[in-house]
């Protein structure tokens, strides 16, 4: 056990795993989480791709591993970190705490779907986001429309706020394709008579089990249409009319549906802008935290003693975040023993 303390900013998957690993390496850990609960975005998710295990299983497994040397600071947003005699002073809720190193695990925010105004989020009933669909699965086990009825026809729209220069999100958010496929299967399982259509640009099924999930969706009757959504509008009786193009047959397409699910991408967390400036950290070209070396030092930053883990550096899935967290813990350890 050392007498050194590491401050972890963010209590999502990456922050939790980094804390656990650093505690195992003998450090005192102060974990700062802006919300009242741990788990970040994953805590709001029902089931995870590719094997559809419940997200709570993963979070509970992590929270059970929190030892006595991890001090949890919930509802503690960190807006300022000062340097003082080689240490860091973290300011939160009017109090200060010292640390010898910092790990930023601040994560991301979901792309605000209302920015794609033409998709009608916030304007039309039953245009929802992928996160809201997860909440429906958690609370009802199936999607329901605002009138309490199950939808008979659902359109899932990929790449909302991803690979889209019009909304300044030119990058791929990595997890939305497989999330869409997972959610499409879950809708079919919960509501076998419901027609489910996925509108995609191309399907990026890069991870283990992803391609199999895509095949399963096709077998279960999910229909995949290669085309982006052009606009949503409302028909009489609150049904939705969507316009797209089937680019494989080069034909414009109009379809009336009961529900539109927007696969919102990952965006840089705007509330950490000041903190990053405070730590002299530059954003990368997508607005996430710039790492020191993309290939060889992916958890280092340009600021000595400040490390990063998880989706604050760009879109990540849970496996990526856990790997990054373990990597960051080792790098923090190497940094602190060399001091």
């Amino acid at each position: 056990m050392t007498n050194k303390t590491v401050a972890i900013i963010g209590g999502g998957i990456a922050g939790l795993e980094t804390s656990i690993q650093l505690e195992k390496l003998g450090y005192n850990v102060s974990l700062f989480e802006k919300d009242q609960t741990l788990g970040g975005h994953a805590a709001k998710w029902d089931r995870l791709f590719p094997n559809r295990r419940h997200a709570t299983e993963v979070i509970e497994s992590l929270t059970k591993s929190i030892g006595k040397n991890i001090q949890l600071n919930l509802a503690s947003p960190v807006n300022k970190i000062n340097r003082e005699n080689g240490s860091f002073v973290i300011e939160t809720n009017g109090k200060s705490q010292k640390a010898d190193a910092i790990v930023l695990a601040t994560g991301f925010e979901l792309f605000p779907a209302s920015k794609k105004e033409e998709y009608g989020y916030g304007i039309f009933e039953n245009v929802i986001t992928s996160a809201e669909l997860e909440s429906m699965f958690s609370s009802n086990g199936k999607p329901l429309m605002t009138n309490g009825k199950a939808p008979e026809k659902v359109a899932i729209i990929h790449c909302v706020g991803s690979r889209d220069e019009k909304v300044n999100r030119p990058y791929c958010s990595k997890v939305c394709c497989v999330t869409a496929v997972k959610q499409a299967i879950e809708i079919k399982e919960a509501l076998p008579n419901t027609e489910v259509y996925c509108f995609y640009m191309d399907l990026r099924m890069f991870g283990p089990g992803y391609e199999e999930l895509y095949k399963e969706a096709q077998v279960k009757g999910v229909i995949f249409i290669r085309g982006r959504l052009s606009e949503t509008s409302e028909l009489e009786g609150n049904r939705l009319l969507i316009k797209s193009e089937d680019t494989l047959s080069s034909k414009p397409l109009k379809m009336s549906v009961d529900m539109v699910v927007l696969m919102v991408g990952m965006s840089p967390l705007s509330s950490t802008d000041n903190l990053l400036k405070n730590l002299n950290l530059e954003p990368n070209h997508d607005g996430f935290v710039q790492v020191k070396d993309y290939h060889l030092m992916p958890t280092h930053t340009e600021t000595d003693g400040v490390f990063v883990a998880g989706a604050c550096t760009g879109p990540n899935n849970i496996t990526d975040s856990v790997n990054a967290a373990r990597s960051a813990a080792i790098e923090v350890h190497k940094y602190l023993i060399s001091k």
């Binding site: 209302s114 105004e117 033409e118 916030g122 304007i123 039309f124 009933e125 606009e231 509008s233 409302e234 028909l235 009489e236 609150n238 009319l241």
Partner: protein, 357 residues
Amino acid sequence: MKVEGKRKIWSEYQKEIAYDRFYYVRSCIRQTVWPGAENIYLRILRDVLGKEVIESEHHTTCTGIGYHTEVVPFETIQTVVARNFSLMQEAGFENYNPSCVTSFGIYTEILDTWHHFPEEKEKTRQYLKKATGRDFVEPKNLAHTSDVIYKFRNEIAEKAKYKLVDKTTGKPLKVVDHIGCHYAKMFPAKGVGGAEYPHVLAGLVEAWGGEVVDYPERRHCCGFGFRQYLVQANRGYSIAASKKKFESMEPFKPDLIITNCPGCNFFMDRWQYALAEMEGKTYGENGFGIPVLTYEEVAGLILGFDPWEIGFQMHQVDIEPLLKKMGIEYDPSQKFKGPNGEDLGVPEVPNNLKFIK
């Protein structure tokens, strides 16, 4: 439909619109096809709202249609625009107020170009000097005429004699708003309410007692679309586009269509006649069409201007059923009389689109 969602978007897209002292520039199409509309706009501003408005007989076309059909080069249109700005400067005004949506789009595009590429502005300054000996300054405020009516919509409502209400049932009239593409689709921040859910006309309808109809093809082109209509071989696309809109709005039973673009107004009015003749299909009540009015025509109507002074007899789709529905007092015998009582002649009645002689 969640109105609060739209209100949020509207609050994000608000623009500065001058309060007084407007340098007004006419529209090539409007002064030819709807001369009453431009006249009523000036009367509303001067006589009803008490604003100072000036126009110049030296003002020319912005050459927008030529520019968009690649007949007029960018350098030329920039110089023409600079000359029009120069006339405004000479008149001692700063608030440029175009009546045409295409012109508004042109002025917006050129001001934006000059902002991002100052060398273009400098080049234009030299061209204008060489060609005319003039210099110019950019307007302090650029607002389309529909923006100005929007700004004063509540004041107009207070002075109004009528409301957009069915006099018999007491229910609000159902109004389709159609916004010209060049108003905000190119520069959403320059339009009231943005490009996707514009408020510039919806706000008028709300303030004047009507109910806006949202229908699936609301964003679709009116049918003018320069390359659809100006290229003769493409005119089938033009009428097909208009038809698509009428078919889409028909189930909502709109009482009228309000537009802010000269082209939209013209095509949505005239193509109803053509469709009725070609297919025997009409979209309004009892064999009539759906009346298509500009924002200032609607303003003039509720303010109590004489319908024939507004120029409603120039419309292909008969406006009289709407006048009756709203309980407007008017003299049907004056329908085809000119400003000095001269006989304008009674037009031939279409075969399929009802029209009251």
